[in-house]
Symmetry: C2
Subunit: 349 residues, 2 copies
């Protein structure tokens, strides 16, 4: 496939050239537009609605997912880029009902990175994978000259095997479903920002980065096919995740502000920074849409797991206002919860 | 998994701190050491000897592989970073005897990248995947601020299903095996360098970037389990690939210089730049170790494919000098062919 190099290698940047903005990486509205208008359009895909894909290998239902990690700082309270990269991909597989069976690990390293840091990150990734019980089976290492990256970027991909009869999907939410949240929100984003900007919350806020595969297993044991939808609200936060799911399932989401747990230090950090906790990234909680008949059993199963002790119902799905998320505020009003627009926290994961 | 952030987030760079060198990304000796001493050591792996891993999903033999691509320029004669990323991963799967069934695609984008470039790269990746017949099923997009990357980095991962009875492996070379090479070498590296440095060879040299899965299918149809070892000699070139295989299989490799085809313009570029063609990266040829009884049939099958018209036998394996590669020179002498040491051509793929 020959590409005319003169046509593309050095495109003259006309004044009106559309360019990638930091906000295109936000996990919010701009990113959704980029994915739809540029990436999915060129791939010939209809839409990009899931974080992991089911692959028919002919004999097994294999699920695959990938994520790049560019977080800064690379070491933060509650984790580091290595464990985060493992947790992120394990969680994307889990959200499709898959047991992780293998991970790959690819590094883009800036020349000059201390080898001790590379060792520490690799050891952390290995430890995180070991705790999940999933092997890192292959990888790649590229080094770019000083100034062509910022230290270290990590891309993981994962393979999982789908549990028989489990088919959670962004498109399976139904009116009447109960919206369950596994734990407090806004910890990862505020931990990163606090570590980056020395805001003084470093001792109080740790990232929630952790694997959620065992929690999902417990939920599927309890609810089976009644667990309609699972999503980990990472970049763009709970608000963006709920909006994506509402749109994909063509349902409305009603949640109650007082049901959404925001730890006090995270709330204080958000207030200081002018952030909405609903837009702040998480790396260790999930939101689920569960048929009402199974919701109690699933919630009990979640609470029995250490990563789900604070699980709770935060709302319901409705056939009113499809594609939109409404929140009953503490004062009794109702506000529309929108996706994050633009970039709130660059390099949060 | 809590990491003490004070211990690791800002390691004071002592004067004697070991740091990543550009040469650590070369595909040669330094990279082999980094993989062995740092990455494999921390992952608890014994060695890193294959570019793709076989995963037992319980029901199917699934193969997986990943590669990051940081090539500059992103568009070059014969390809671009998008098609290269697809070919690279398809070829890594093929080298383990696997038919590719799914690819993932992760972008790390520098703020300010023209969207037209992102479109062109994505379209090229989609076209390349379409020609292979493998879907890109999921992906990820991260954006980093200006200066934290150089335009666009692409990481692909792939899933393949292993052909029944096929088990080519870096460890299966046996004394007596014939060494087959599918086509001319040194094209990709010289094409990139020529495009980068405007050496004047741009019209004559195009990268050999292309998928090799169909060639491998033809070889396995002809030779079955007698096809012991397959490897695409990318970074580090044919010399590094043969050295890695010699070491992993504990065999010696004897090749003849006059049997290794180096196209005239590529040879001229190498002479100008002081490069050994055996150390220059390829992206569209493979080297195979095949049992002598099957070598003729496999070679005929290769030549019947467009990507193998120039295939030929370039040597044999021996139980003498295990782990080493010897070359009979044009002048009748024998020289040791070593792995590439250090970095010859940064950001070649």
């Amino acid at each position: 496939m020959m590409t005319d190099p003169t046509a593309l290698s050095c495109p003259a940047p006309a004044a009106e050239t559309e360019r990638v903005l930091l906000g295109h990486g936000s996990g919010g509205r701009l990113m959704a537009e980029l994915l739809h208008d540029v990436i999915a359009a060129e791939l010939g895909a209809d839409r990009v609605t899931e974080d992991a894909a089911v692959v028919d290998t002919g004999t097994a239902e294999v699920v695959t997912s990938t994520d790049s990690f560019v977080v800064t700082p690379r070491f933060f309270p509650g984790g580091d880029i290595g464990s985060l990269a493992v947790h992120g991909t394990v969680n994307d597989l889990a959200m499709r009902g898959a047991r992780p069976v293998a991970l790959t690990l690819a590094y883009i390293i800036e020349e000059g990175l201390p080898l001790d840091e590379l060792r520490a990150v690799t050891a952390s990734a290995a430890r995180a994978a070991g705790l999940v019980g999933v092997p890192i089976v292959t990888g790649d290492t590229k080094v770019v000259p000083r100034g062509a990256a910022d230290g270290l970027y990590v891309t993981t991909a994962g393979i999982g095997v789908r549990r028989l009869g489990a088919a959670p999907s962004a498109a399976r939410g139904r009116p009447g479903d109960i919206v369950l949240l596994s734990g407090p929100i806004a910890l990862h984003g505020t931990a990163i920002l606090s570590a980056r900007e020395s805001l003084g919350f470093e001792a109080e806020i740790a990232s929630d980065s952790r694997p959620l595969h065992a929690l999902v297993t417990a939920m599927l044991d309890a609810g089976g096919p009644d667990v309609h939808t699972l999503r980990d609200p990472t970049r763009g936060g709970l608000a963006s995740a709920l909006n994506e799911l509402a749109e994909t399932s063509s349902v409305g989401v009603d949640i109650a502000e007082d049901a959404v747990p925001v730890p006090r230090p995270a709330a204080a950090a958000c207030e200081l920074l002018g952030l909405d906790p609903l837009h702040v990234a998480n790396e260790g909680c999930l939101v689920a849409f569960v048929a009402p008949a199974a919701a109690d059993a699933v919630l009990r199963a979640m609470r029995a797991r250490p990563e789900g002790t604070e699980a709770r119902a935060i709302g319901t799905l409705t056939d009113e206002h499809p594609g939109r998320v409404h929140m009953r505020t503490l004062l009794g009003g109702v506000r529309v919860v929108d996706m994050l627009v633009g970039e709130q926290l660059p390099r949060i994961c």
